[in-house]
């Protein structure tokens, strides 16, 4: 009886090995490089958007930009129709509306870092210290340990300096179409124009303070219409990286051109 059961279980397991959905979507992995010549401090880097696009067209807008799809009616210029993409970092509500939409995960080792790059004033005009920010987050989120803070942590930093002294961060674009000849292109939104204060989770202390607001998150169409959000001070990749047949890992995308 036991041997029959084992045989049946083995057959079932073997069957799962035969199952292949044959989806055209694949995960694409690589690294984004930001030269130290354009970014002295990785803590000041905004959200990084990486997209896989049909082609590259530096002529259309006068700067490095993906080729755009058919333009329909009043659609704004630049519908780049990505095959897929991802970000490095994500917007997180930093417990205070004063810096809403300005804090990104993976940039800060500790609360002192957060306050150094994003100084916050208390109601009496004095500078907020890390203990006060901790208390605020403890109240807002109920976090009771610094390990629970989503936007700080030395082991969760996205960017690390490589041997050339440049900033390097790994990325993984889930479930994307990756035909040979397509391109990787990306930009860094350093002034947070991609964040919508009117979207995201509702104030989770609303029942306490009676104030309705949303915590903020990125707009949904950033990779479709990057030009809507690229402003002075942002960085774009001056040249794209071309996808090769059957290669799903090890890509490198350099984001090195500061917009002005």
């Amino acid at each position: 009886m036991r041997s029959e059961f084992v045989a049946a279980a083995a057959a079932l397991l073997a069957l799962t090995g035969c199952f292949n959905e044959e989806l055209p979507e694949q995960n694409l992995a690589g690294q984004v490089i930001v030269p130290s010549s354009v970014a002295e401090d990785s803590r000041a880097l905004g959200m990084v958007y990486i997209g896989i696009f049909e082609a590259w067209d530096p002529e259309q807008l006068g700067y490095s930009y993906p080729a755009t799809g058919p333009r329909i009616g009043d659609n704004p210029l630049g519908d780049a129709q990505p095959y897929g993409g991802t970000t490095i970092g994500e917007y997180v509500y930093p417990c205070l509306r004063a810096v809403q939409c300005e804090i990104i995960t993976g940039r800060y080792s500790n609360l002192e870092d957060v306050l150094e790059i994003n100084p916050i004033n208390n109601e009496d005009g004095s500078a907020m210290n890390s203990e006060q920010l901790y208390d605020q987050c403890q109240w807002y989120y109920g976090w009771n340990s610094i390990d629970e803070f989503r936007f700080v942590g030395a082991d969760t930093l996205d960017f690390k300096q490589n041997e050339d002294g440049d900033w390097a961060a790994d990325f993984l674009a889930w479930h994307s179409q990756v035909p040979a000849g397509a391109i990787l292109w990306g930009f860094i939104d350093n002034d947070f124009t991609t964040c919508s204060e009117a979207q995201g989770a509702i104030n989770r202390r609303r029942s306490d303070d009676g104030i309705f607001f949303r915590e903020g998150t990125n707009f949904a169409d950033v990779l479709n219409f990057p030009d809507k959000y690229i402003t002075d001070g942002d960085m774009v990749s001056s040249a794209p990286t071309v996808i090769e047949e059957g290669v799903l890992d090890g890509y490198e995308l350099v984001i090195d051109e500061v917009m002005d």
Partner: protein, 270 residues
């Protein structure tokens, strides 16, 4: 043997789970126990089809509002009730406004200065409201068949990398509350959009029933296609006639229907 005894009541219990959920569908007809077929109307072949309102008439507020009625959709299967209207491009901008039955909040009304306030004699009655959505574009891109099958303007193409892509040729673009394209209004709330047209080229407007009023399964609507751009704002009173006539005495102070009551107040109080 014991296992069989346990299995039998389980199977019987499972049988009790065989509920018929069709009664929850908007197209379900409780009298026949069947789902009503969708209604697809080709407005172009009506005896009195809609017309594009000329710019002069728009200026003088003299546009002729088209009023129609549609049956329920089977949203789950993608079979929509709806209507289509084909018109030639003017060479300029065209504005489309629709208003589905009837009033979003029956417990509100406009005062003499046009501000919305409370209607002290009414409670909200959402069961006479429905939702109608619209898409429009070049008639050549329309995927449905007027009078037979509702469609949209989503087409496919193969890009330079050999990847099949979808492209939406809908020109009737509305912004949602976050300024993102792709929004539609909800229950009983009017919608509008405008777009540039090529002169003499056929364009098609497709109205799709999203939901019908629960009280009679028939969605009345008002529609205008106008030369020129759209007004800055529209409201329930921009187009009139998207309502049922109430039974005598059903509404307070001599009101004939909820839309007149919302827009004009009560006859007996005037």
């Amino acid at each position: 043997m014991r296992a069989t005894l346990l299995l039998l009541p389980s199977v019987l219990l499972l049988g009790a789970c065989d509920l018929d959920g069709r009664a929850l569908l908007q197209s379900y007809d409780p009298e026949t126990g069947e789902q009503r077929p969708v209604t697809v109307v080709d407005l172009d072949i009506l005896d009195e089809p809609p017309v594009v309102c000329a710019a002069e008439d728009v200026q003088e507020n003299a546009c002729e509002t088209f009023r129609g009625a549609l049956g329920p959709s089977d949203v789950g299967t993608g079979a929509y009730s709806g209507s289509t209207f084909t018109f030639n491009g003017t060479g300029g901008r065209v504005c489309i406004i629709i208003d589905p039955q009837s009033v979003w909040r029956d417990d509100l009304m406009l005062d003499s200065s046009g501000n919305e306030g409370t209607n002290p004699f009414m409670e909200d009655f959402p069961y006479d409201d429905g939702d109608l959505d619209m898409v429009a574009g070049l008639a050549a891109y329309y995927t449905g068949t007027p009078g037979e099958l509702m469609g949209d303007f989503v087409n496919e193409f193969i890009d330079d990398n050999g990847v099949g892509r979808r492209v939406d040729h809908n020109l009737c673009l509305q912004e949602d509350t976050h300024g993102q394209i792709g929004g539609t209004s909800g229950r009983a709330t009017p919608e509008m959009c405008s777009f540039d047209t090529l002169e003499g080229v056929p364009y098609r407007l497709a109205l799709q029933t999203f939901s019908v009023p629960v009280d009679d399964n028939e969605l009345r609507y008002a529609m205008e296609v106008r030369e020129g751009g759209c007004p800055t704002q529209i409201d329930e009173c921009t187009l009139r006639g998207d309502r049922d006539r109430a039974a005598d005495g059903a509404l307070p102070l001599g009101a004939d229907n909820v839309e007149d009551m919302y827009c004009d107040g009560f006859p007996e109080a005037r």
